[in-house]
């Protein structure tokens, strides 16, 4: 695949209560954004395991984005706290590995923040495009 043909593959974990609803709201409002992301719905951002990021990137996914409720708003009290903490370690690991830490990101979008969903997605997709294909994909 040449540089020109490359299109990023981006996996977005959305929690059911806030960010998935926010994503829906963005749709209802017809807010346009890049196509390169695919949403995987989980009930809570606390369901996210950093291990998923390894599995995804190893198989050629270029960026992993986790969206949850804002801190304090978690439908399940503290699930997003755990997600955030796991992410801290994951991000540190990326730095040591020499993989751009921006390939993985966690952020918060509430059910009413369709506009914010559009904004964070657009920005993340643009950033991954800038970074190019994941160096963890392909090969070993």
């Amino acid at each position: 695949m040449t540089e020109d043909e490359w299109e990023p593959k981006i996996l977005v974990f959305c929690c059911n209560w806030c960010s998935y609803a926010g994503a829906d709201l963005a749709g209802v409002a017809r807010l346009q954004m890049p196509t390169h992301f695919r949403v995987l719905r989980v009930m809570c951002s606390g369901r996210f395991k950093p291990e998923y990021a390894f599995k995804a990137m190893e198989q050629g996914i270029d960026g992993v984005f986790v969206l949850g409720c804002h801190i304090g708003d978690c439908h399940y009290l503290e699930g997003n706290h755990r997600a955030k903490k796991r992410f801290e370690v994951l991000e540190d690991m990326m730095v040591h590995l020499g993989v751009e830490p921006g390939r993985i990101k966690i952020d918060w979008v509430s059910a009413s923040e369709g506009v914010r969903f559009q904004a964070v997605i657009t920005e993340f997709v643009a950033h991954i495009k800038e970074l190019g294909p994941s160096p963890l994909g392909g090969g070993r």
């Binding site: 994503a23 209802v28 196509t35 989980v42 606390g46 599995k55 439908h75 399940y76 503290e78 755990r82």
Partner: protein, 571 residues
Amino acid sequence: MRHDEEPRIGVFVCHCGSNIGGWLDVPAVAEYAGTLPYVVHSEDNLYTCAEDGLAAIRKAIKEQDLNRVIVASCTPRTHEPLFQATCEEAGLNRYLFEFVNIRDQCSWIHMSEWDAATEKAKELVRMGVAKATRLVPLDRSTAPVELVAMVLGGGITGMTAARAIANSGFEVYLVERRSVLGGLLNRLHKIWPTEESPRQLLDGLEADLEANERVHILTGTEMVDLKGFVGNFDVTLMPVEGNGDGLDLKVGTIIVATGADEMKPDGLYGYGEVEGVVTELELETMLREGNLPEIGNAVFIQCTGARGQRVTYCSRVCCMTGIKNAMELRELYPEASINVLYRDIMAYGISYEELYQRARVKGVGFIRHPKEEPPRVETGPDGKVRVTYRDVILGRDIVQDVDLVVLSTPLVQHEDAKELAQMLRVPLGQDRFFFEAHVKLRPIDFASDGIFLAGTAHGPKDIEESIVQALGAASRSLTFLKAGQVLSEPIVAVVDEDSCIGCGNCIEVCPYGAIELKEGGKRGQVAEVNPGLCKGCGTCPGACPSSSIQQLGFTDEQILAMITALANGGD
């Protein structure tokens, strides 16, 4: 955990009229779905959620012996129960249904990218198929509902809702943090169109409530803690002032009717700086208490702080309030010149337009100013208030010294609403009002079951609308109370006792104390989930180093299959 039979998957791709079909190639998505592993049937429908679409699902389940169904259409947040029920009608366990959202999160947000949106829809379907292949039938369990409701907020909305619930035979706690019931109505002078005193309205309601032994009125009280879920909330209430004893309640449903506040427009149009500048509510108080100054002329300034000035929204009720009060002043001071300065007048519906016309007939002046040039208010000579405004029709600035400037400000959310929202684990919208589950389909519900909203806590509303919504919320609440039990989603955590070592990570992260250690397993101790307490957040599998605890419906196997399907283009 694998379902025994070989999967036979049916995929139904919805055009949603042109909502999906107009922006991506639905037939191509359906055709592609047919090529995926284990997919034995695929079709596209104009509206899968319409009766003929549902009939097609039922038919295919029967004729094709489907044991998994996927609908690729809108969002599970609105339509999943419908399709699940359809599967059940055809004899298929409702958890063998998988939803793929290709509208809200695809066609609607990629309206100029036909090819890419089509490709994305295919990939989303592929991920859905990967998950569906690994779905297993699950059973919902029931839990009893505490036959008690709680209404937060003792204004007209809360009182109405409480009365309706009590009249239907259920206990209800009405919690108001002020010392009296009535909320904002206590501060109004007259209410339109009956022109009666709000007191009359409130007194009648309050008498009803006090007379009903099923109603427990708790004024001067606020909620400080909330645990549990629909049917079984644990509420802790405390007196607002003093160190009185708290009260722990068990309630089945909650209605949020905490109302709103009038915006204090500090710094706008001389408010707080210039003598003689008041808000509508302050005017109503003066009217009620009869301590108005002599007025020769007065000016109302509409949209103060609203529609982009301080808040973005139109507060809906301020036009009526301003017109109503202008007319009252007009009646009190027939000689006075009363002018309403406005950008747009919103006199919606049947009775309000009539009110507006009547005000004009009675000689209230309505003067339009451009949005870009709001009136200026300063201290004028002789203790009067000098108002300078641009008259659009005259096309020039007018300077007027008046006795009173009344600012029509919007209703705003309470300062501390966020705390309450977090306690309830329900969202606030961008304007900080409580945010409903779905604007059209679930306008009284929150996304969280068992909590409903009504009145101005939801956004600016007049009394009539608040009462309507109060009755709606009461009725939604009664749906649960009358059922007496709730079906719980079976997406709970389960432990593999062969691999669990009882390290306790899951116990540590469970927000509901739903996991405990018991004897057993290879290490003599294993985690055990109480499915009644587990709410299915899935935080525990995220903390298990050996994947020994899984969330049904969101297992590692299912999620990994979706990831792989996305990455590799297939199994």
